[in-house]
Symmetry: C2
Subunit: 249 residues, 2 copies
């Protein structure tokens, strides 16, 4: 059996699935779409679709995201900080269990998207209903709210875990923030994603003291509650050294 006989390879379908996360209303939310056809008709699922014959995997993920949310993402390469208005996109893992799709053999490459909160989570194109759903309701509370189609529960769980661990040692938490943000807003991202509460004083010293993490945006004030806060943008740093420590409960 020669490893590359072009005529004898088994037929596989290849898709991309998206774990698109954002922070909305004090909750970590994932983008879900409602399936319009069987199997799992009417069930919620992660957005995704076929990779086209001459399309790169990451390009397929970007296209699907754009089609369903009109959100532009940018592939994360080493030392590539997220830019204005663009979401962060990275490969998560590949799921190819035989039988994960009841009709045929489908290998799905999952991508993780970290996006700032959007004014409208407007569904676009051919998708019936797309919306942001709190991941807590989809994962642990999923017994009542209903499970996601296929193995998307596991893909979502893997994506959430990747996001939780990655903001520990990278500057990726800023991908959840708008272009300009305050230290308190960034702290709320960490608190929501990790489900903990952090000391505001120590957090402030930590993030402002890490070179390259934040740069002052000049504009020095904004209303959030009490005293006006300085505005920052994401700096050039991509890795946090020393990392942000996740407290244990």
């Amino acid at each position: 059996m020669s490893p590359y006989d072009p005529s004898a390879f088994p037929p596989f379908a290849v898709t991309v699935d998206l774990v698109a996360l954002t922070v909305r209303e004090q909750a970590l939310c994932a983008l879900t779409v409602r399936r319009a056809e069987p199997p799992f008709e009417g069930a919620w699922a992660l957005p995704g679709g076929f990779v086209r014959p001459d399309e790169d995997l990451a390009a397929a993920a970007e296209r699907e995201l754009l089609e369903e949310t009109s959100l532009r993402a940018r592939v994360m390469e080493a030392a590539c900080p997220v830019r204005r208005g663009e979401a962060h996109l990275e490969q998560l893992a590949t799921y190819g269990d035989p039988g994960r799709d009841p009709r045929m053999r489908v290998v799905s490459v999952a991508y993780l998207v970290l996006a700032p909160d959007l004014p409208t989570p407007r569904p676009g194109g051919d998708v019936e209903g797309a919306r942001w759903t709190p991941v807590d309701a989809l994962l642990e509370g999923g017994r009542s709210g209903g499970r996601l189609a296929f193995d998307h529960d596991r893909i979502l769980a893997d994506g959430v875990e990747r996001a939780r661990s990655k903001i520990e040692y990278s500057s990726l938490a800023t991908a959840f923030c708008p272009e300009e943000f305050t230290v308190g807003e960034l702290r709320r991202v960490y608190e929501v994603v990790w489900g903990v509460s952090l000391d505001p004083r120590n957090f402030h010293r930590k993030v402002t003291g890490t070179p390259g993490f934040l740069v002052a945006a000049g504009g020095t004030t904004k209303r959030q509650g009490g005293r006006p806060a300085q505005l920052f943008r994401a700096g050039e740093a991509t890795v946090l050294n020393p990392p942000m420590l996740r407290p244990e409960p």
Copy 2:
């Protein structure tokens, strides 16, 4: 365009490729095979092959590894320490650039294998020549020694980087060791994989002081040079907290 029309999916070939690493003679080595057919006939490549129609991706990786090295691997799931004689296996990433194989569209799921040094790196089955090659020669020194086939240089680089960062915060370095090993042998693993030298005294305190990392194997001595050293086995811990810090040069 419905996302799951069984008759309309584009044809893809799906393969697994292995980045199998071990520590031999003070060098981090990767398993390479020599290609017997075009394209890249005669060139070195990572071992790999087609996923069978009803085979899970991880099972395909295990099968390929067994066929080419008679090495048994075990899929790494959360909280699953490596066991006696078995290698560690985890999914690395998926590579699907159109044109990465000149003949057809091939999506390759790469797996990372961390193995102890083997008595014989014996090639098995239908593979012409399989051998362990120092990764330094394959990566930076690759200009002279010759590049790997396809995009395997990049896959190998990603695998090495994953291994380097993963032994920082997990107990995976023990996967490079035989079942029973000394603290000095474990330290040499870190030194070779990272390409640094570590303080033996502090390293000893660190690893023996981390609960669950090492357990004394009873047998208390062995000859390695000077004074006899205690023998240990890998403990139940999988994550290192606090992590092992990689010194900067």
